[in-house]
């Protein structure tokens, strides 16, 4: 059989990709956001239960040690924020084991940026502005409205259930019905994730950018939690941005409390042990940086490969990457 050495993107697409990346840099230069580069390898990894980190053995001045390949540049960038960097952005190579598909690649480029002093709403506006800019549309353009949707309302509309209060048995039954798999012992968030992925996501962002807010507090990751002013439920202060059924970005009102951050890392590793997953070394330097003090603000991670895919009208991320994982 012939060896498939050729790129998964055409050379013309790679030219377009370079142009769009240059546009990203112009966008942030205009706004006074500093480009930074942080290490791909770190002593701490992501403890997130649903992310599988890769690691490498390396010889460093400390001897032979295990270093983690980042799943996002979040920890290092937050340490820069704590050190007084001000607004920063990065186009960072990230690695997530096992994630390969039409919308995923083991190794991908994350556009991540942090805005000290920004509310989550202000960051949503800026993220939408960047998306519109790369799609070649004006933010005021009526053809591309920006809609905010509450997580709870989406579930009520699409599935006639309340994701916060529905009994677990009801969620499991619905997940089984929609997914065609056994979910009888699945935890609440797995049921919600399945329904979100299979039923709700595909319809999001079909008529312009759609932003989902007010996620369940249990899905806060590294975002703050707050009480919903309308119904008093605890929700996560984060958003996800969708376009044409694709999740493009994930933004947080960033957690700045060091003790809370350390506790969430420990909770994650406890959950990993319970699930039979390997534990991940905690980033103690991030906790120390938060103890020193990180300015309040918001940050967002955007899958730039997916945005480029949409901007160029391609069907998969592989088509906008020189060599996607199966050909790396």
């Amino acid at each position: 059989m012939a060896i498939d050495w050729r790129p998964t993107a055409t050379i013309a697409t790679l030219r377009d990709r370079a142009r769009l990346l240059a546009e990203v840099r112009v966008f942030f230069a205009e706004r006074g956001v500093l480009e930074v580069e942080t290490p791909v390898l770190g002593h701490g990894g992501s403890t997130d239960l649903h992310l599988a980190s890769l690691s490498a053995r390396a010889t460093t001045p400390a001897g032979r040690e295990r270093l983690w390949l980042q799943t996002s540049p979040e920890f290092a960038m937050k340490r820069l924020l704590a050190a007084g960097a001000g607004p920063i952005f990065q186009l960072a190579r990230c690695f997530r084991d096992g994630e390969v598909g039409r919308r995923h690649n083991l190794e991908f480029t994350m556009l991540e940026w942090y805005r000290p002093g920004f509310t989550l709403d202000a960051l949503i506006e800026e993220t939408a502005a960047l998306v519109h800019r790369l799609l070649g549309r004006e933010p005021g353009d009526k053809a591309v409205p920006l809609r905010r949707r509450r997580y709870r309302a989406l579930f009520r509309e699409a599935l006639a259930i309340d994701p916060f209060t529905a009994p677990l048995a009801e969620l499991r039954r619905l997940a089984e019905e929609k997914g065609g798999l056994a979910m009888h012992d699945a935890p609440r968030d797995d049921c919600l994730d399945l329904l979100m992925s299979l039923v709700i996501e595909p319809g999001l962002g079909r008529e312009g950018v759609e932003v989902v807010v007010d996620y369940p507090a249990s899905q806060a990751a590294l975002a703050r939690r707050h009480r919903d002013p309308e119904d008093g439920e605890w929700v996560a202060s984060r958003f996800e941005l969708y376009l044409e059924g694709l999740e493009l970005a994930n933004g947080y009102d960033e957690l700045t409390d060091a003790a809370e951050q350390a506790a969430r890392f420990e909770e994650d590793n406890t959950a990993r042990r319970a699930a039979g997953l390997p534990e991940v070394d905690i980033d103690r330097r991030l906790v120390a940086a938060l103890e020193h003090g990180m300015p309040e603000g918001s940050g967002v991670a955007l899958g730039i490969d997916r945005l480029i895919q949409l901007a160029l009208g391609k069907a998969s991320v592989a088509e906008v990457m020189a060599f996607a994982t199966p050909r790396c």
């Binding site: 096992g98 390969v100 598909g101 995923h104 997914g179 065609g180 919600l192 992925s197 299979l198 899905q219």
Partner: protein
């Protein structure tokens, strides 16, 4: 058989699902922004031919199915079973039930080579070659000179299949037929 995890699922892999052997048609990795990843998988049930759509949690696994596609020549039927013989020189024969033959029963011709799918060494389906040459055993008399387009009539072939043929075709002629569409291609 070995177990296969969702990230090893690729087109053509044979796995067991609900007690039936299946062939993976498509495997899509889906994952919400933060949270559990799933694989949306299309599988063809090799017994019924139906395509199932199932979701798996990423990392789950299925048992592999001992399924093989082998070339075999059709020999004869005793009325109850249909007999095929391996073409690898072993002369090993397999008896196939009517249920496993499915639609292929109307494309059977002695000495033609078919693909027989075996599961645990039992034949579960038979696929005819894409094109096969068969004799017309019954059709209305041909219309002389009508070799132009337009007009067709039914013709019964030696295997029992009925296909639409041009008006100029006569009984006793041998035709080339596409077994996938059941359409006449040409005179053989």
């Amino acid at each position: 058989m070995a177990n296969y995890s969702t990230n090893e699922f690729k087109g053509g892999l044979k796995v067991m699902l609900d007690g039936d052997p299946c062939s993976i048609v498509e495997n899509e990795f889906v994952k919400p922004g933060k949270g559990q990843a799933f694989n949306r998988v299309k599988l063809r049930n090799l017994i019924t031919g139906r395509v199932w759509e199932r979701t798996f949690k990423s990392g789950e696994s299925l048992e592999g199915a001992d399924v093989m596609d082998l070339d075999m020549e059709y020999l004869y039927t005793d009325g109850e079973m249909w007999h095929f013989m391996k073409t690898d020189g072993s002369f090993e024969q397999y008896a196939v039930e009517k249920k496993a033959l499915g639609d292929t029963i109307k494309w059977l011709k002695e000495q033609v080579v078919y693909t027989v799918t075996l599961w645990n060494d039992n034949a579960i389906s038979v696929t005819p070659p894409n094109f096969i040459e068969l004799e017309v055993v019954e059709t209305d008399p041909g219309l002389k000179g009508d070799t132009a387009q337009g007009g067709s009539k039914p013709a019964t072939l030696s295997s029992g299949a009925v296909v639409r043929v041009p008006l100029f075709i006569n009984q006793g002629e041998v035709l080339k037929v596409d077994t996938r569409s059941g359409e006449y291609v040409s005179r053989a």
